[in-house]
């Protein structure tokens, strides 16, 4: 009460207050976002299925590669209409994934008429998208249906082959596998798979009768590989640790911090999605093949920086804010908080991630050798290319032993740190 008698001072209606308006807006945006996600998901699923089917047909029937078989606008209209029909008359994949269903607001079962109204109104609501902002959205209001959380309470489940989503997924999977099989398996390779097994017999034999004369030089290459991994990892740590603080969402706030965070994480995930082998190719051209191990180290280094920064930053993002609060409340400065609240929480995971990455780098170093990145990989590739199976088998044994040992060591150390 504001001290005046009732009715003297009119307060604005409650829904007009700023908070209420904001709340309403957020609620509507959330609802619209969810419905939009459902629609997009359905359209994506239908579109991909269409493409898969056309791909199979064009590959087998016409002997060319084509993706839609119809003009692109027809494809677009088809996908949109199919999604609309599916969502109006059934429980679509999107509904299912969002654990939602359409039910009449009054309860009971929905009628075909309601569904038809929903289908028609769908076009004027969802396509221009503004209609979704109403609460409930127009098409739902007109049809008297509402999108509510789905619950199994007091219901009997329909087996998957009696639901539209189940059937769709089955067809989708079959189409995907069929397309994949027809693309990757041509007759020639398949016959060779069964007739040419003899070509590798020497190799399997060599696994039991290694060629000891190449042991010493191979071990030297092995040493190079280990050093490649060690050097790449340790130099990557030096860069990744400071970067991780700049790439942690919870530490980088405000108008300066947030852009740095976004740019860094974006760059890191781009770098990470290029395999070290590709990096090695680029660096090999740069530093020339004469310095193969150097190129390999650079490739591993770049990839490790991106990977470690992401791992470290994710760890930083999940630190316990309670401890930070506790230390801050003692009046500690920013650096002191870092030293006493953040560092103790991250030091062990950081070491553990580093060991993990070192483990990966050993494997990667053997692979990078294949493109000419030096070390044991290069030697192995040389033997394999020249069909020197016995030598290849010997080197393979060495690699297995090395990878095994490192795997075991790093797993043991990490278990101790955890």
């Amino acid at each position: 009460m504001n001290g005046y008698p009732d009715g003297i001072v009119k307060e604005p209606p409650e829904w007009l207050s700023r908070r209420r308006l904001l709340d309403a807006l957020i609620l509507r945006l959330k609802g619209a976002g969810q419905r939009l996600a459902i629609v997009l998901l359905d359209m994506l699923a239908i579109g991909v299925l269409w493409i898969l089917v056309s791909y199979i047909i064009s590959w087998h029937v016409y002997g060319v590669i084509a993706y839609t078989l119809v003009p692109w606008w027809l494809f677009g209209v088809g996908v949109v209409e199919a999604a609309a029909v599916w969502e109006s008359f059934g429980r679509s994949l999107g509904h299912r994934l969002a654990r939602k269903e359409l039910r009449p607001r009054q309860g009971g079962k929905s009628t075909l008429g309601q569904r038809l109204v929903y289908y028609i109104a769908w076009h004027i609501t969802v396509l221009p998208m503004v209609g979704l902002l109403a609460s409930p959205p127009w098409h739902e209001r007109l049809a008297g249906l509402s999108l509510v959380p789905f619950s199994m309470e007091g219901k009997k489940p329909t087996p998957w082959w009696r639901t539209s989503s189940g059937l769709f997924m089955a067809v989708f999977l079959c189409a995907a596998v069929a397309a994949a099989v027809s693309v990757t398996m041509d007759k020639e390779s398949l016959t060779r798979l069964f007739t040419q097994a003899g070509r590798t017999v020497k190799f399997w034999k060599a696994l039991f009768s290694p060629d000891t004369s190449i042991l010493l030089p191979s071990i030297r290459d092995l040493v190079v590989t280990i050093f490649m991994a060690v050097i790449a990892t340790s130099f990557a740590v030096v860069v990744a640790v400071p970067l991780s603080f700049l790439a942690a969402r919870n530490l980088m706030r405000g108008p300066i911090g947030r852009p740095i965070y976004t740019v860094l994480r974006g760059a890191m995930s781009i770098i990470r999605s290029i395999e070290p082998v590709i990096w090695a190719i680029i660096f090999l051209v740069w530093v020339t093949a004469r310095r193969a191990p150097f190129a390999g180290v650079l490739a591993l280094w770049v990839h490790s920086i991106a990977d470690l920064t992401k791992l470290y930053a994710e760890r930083l993002e999940s630190i316990d804010p309670g401890l930070v609060e506790a230390i801050t409340s003692t009046g500690a400065g920013r650096l002191q908080v870092l030293r006493y609240a953040v560092v103790p929480q991250i030091i062990n995971p950081y070491i553990s991630f580093t060991l993990y990455r070192w483990d990966i780098n050993i494997r990667m170093a053997t692979v990078v050798g294949v493109v000419g990145g030096g070390g044991i990989g290069q030697r192995l590739y040389f033997y394999l290319k020249n069909l020197a199976w016995q030598q290849a088998g010997t080197v393979m044994i060495l690699i297995v032993i090395l990878v095994w040992a490192i795997d075991y060591l790093s797993a043991r150390l990490r278990a101790k740190l955890a």
């Binding site: 050093f227 290029i274 053997t366 294949v370």
Partner: protein, 429 residues
């Protein structure tokens, strides 16, 4: 920390079953560290002093034949003395510390005595350890004890960097980087000297040539078919898809054979378990790229089938190991319940094990899908097919703008798949 320790008296060594083994491992660690230092010193002498041509002698030791026993004995002695005169890395790593029997830090005299007596204890076939492994002769005669410290940090007497193990760690790191620098022939100046070549690649790649994104490139033909970048991207995705499905389907039944709790504790079960786990580990430690070479020679160089097979083999091994570890970590409660209702072993698996592990199985499979997409983008390098074929073809042509286009498509694919599999994994867990 116990109140005893707080009062300055050290907790006694815990009598552990594997005391001797731990002691031996700790010593071995020290010995290996000194061996590594000797190797490093020899290498540096080779490189700088005797100026042996690096090209031929990287990681080679030019030692006269009589030098080897000397090196072995020398490193052994160094290990012994470093363990006795301070807290060596080996002691630190296993949580050991030498203390006087009276509960005080040992005097220098005691330390020297212990080092000398060590030979008496160990050289006659370890006779000193026979009577009491916890306190062998040299400890007894020198009046010292080897304590196992509790894992909580002991009160520090000295800053880490001034202790022996601290100095040693620093030395090892420095030595490793120095050696690595030499062995790998790192030369940052090359990067600058060849800056023009390097920057030219980068610049050309940043001006990607997307002309043949959807239109087949007439210059690039594979098995009498022309492919565009888009076509190859689709092929790549199919390779990853097929190998993930095949790999997961095969790893699923095998993983139960590699789970100790499912196989039971009878000898036959142990045997199957060990064979399965061993196979998983061996096949896993040979990288997909190396498998691809084998299959490419076997099937056909450049055929996607070779890539699919290589990815599948590695997927089976990797997923098999992850799956069986999940099976081993299940809650035994439901297993008990199903068995108590009269379920046979296979029914126990169906009703008590699979429902428990299903979410993590899906998560691992999605994770593997992610890895397979990454791998399939480059597997063409070793004859595995996929979008890498284009990449390496254009790279060999020196057509860097097209390489740039392919790399951008690869990034987009990997990114999208990473995102999707990440989102799906979040939903499952």
């Amino acid at each position: 920390m116990t109140s005893e320790a707080a009062a300055g008296v050290r907790p006694k060594a815990r009598a552990e079953g594997s005391t001797l083994r731990r002691r031996f491992l700790s010593f071995l660690l020290d010995w290996m560290i000194w061996g590594y230092i000797a190797y490093g010193v020899m290498y540096l002498l080779n490189a700088y002093w005797w100026t042996v041509p690096l090209e031929r002698y990287y990681s080679t030791l030019t030692l006269p034949s009589w030098g080897w026993p000397l090196a072995v004995l020398g490193t052994l002695e160094m290990a012994v003395w470093s363990r006795n005169l301070g807290r060596s890395l080996g002691l630190k790593a296993f949580g050991y510390e030498v203390w006087g029997a009276d509960g005080k830090p040992p005097t220098v005299g005691q330390r020297v005595k212990r080092a000398l007596l060590w030979h008496l204890s160990v050289l006659p076939l370890g006779a000193g350890f026979w009577s009491s492994p916890e306190r062998p002769w040299h400890d007894r005669l020198a009046g010292t004890e080897l304590h196992v410290l509790p894992s909580s940090p002991a009160p520090k007497r000295r800053k880490a960097l001034f202790s022996q193990w601290g100095i040693m760690s620093l030395l090892l790191i420095a030595l490793t980087i120095w050696l690595g620098w030499l062995i790998i022939k790192i030369d940052p100046r090359v990067l600058i000297r060849r800056w023009d070549e390097g920057s030219r690649i980068w610049l050309e790649m940043l001006h990607p040539d997307f002309r043949y994104f959807a239109r087949p490139d007439p210059a690039f033909e594979l098995r009498n078919l022309s492919f565009s970048i888009l076509d190859m991207a689709v092929v790549t995705l199919f390779m990853a898809l097929l190998s993930t499905i095949l790999g997961a389907a095969l790893a699923f039944p095998l993983s139960f054979l590699g789970a100790r709790n499912v196989m039971g504790f009878n000898p036959a079960g142990w045997l199957v378990y060990f064979v399965m786990r061993g196979l998983f580990n061996i096949f896993r430690s040979i990288d997909t790229m190396l498998w691809a070479v084998i299959f490419a020679v076997w099937v056909l160089w450049g055929s996607p089938l070779a890539g699919v097979l290589a990815l599948t083999v590695h997927t089976i091994a990797a997923l098999g190991k992850l799956y069986s570890e999940q099976v081993e970590g299940i809650d035994p409660g439901p297993v008990e319940a199903v068995a108590a209702a009269g379920g046979s072993r296979i029914e126990v698996i169906r009703y008590a094990v699979i429902p428990q592990v299903a979410p993590s199985f899906w998560a691992f499979t999605l994770y593997r899908w992610d890895i397979n997409v990454r791998m399939s983008t480059v597997i063409a390098l070793v004859g595995g097919g996929g979008i890498g074929d284009l990449l390496f073809y254009y790279k060999n042509q020196g057509d860097w703008p097209k390489v740039g286009a392919v790399v951008i498509v690869i990034v987009a694919i990997v990114w999208a798949m990473d995102y999707i599999s990440g989102r799906l994994r979040e939903r499952i867990v």
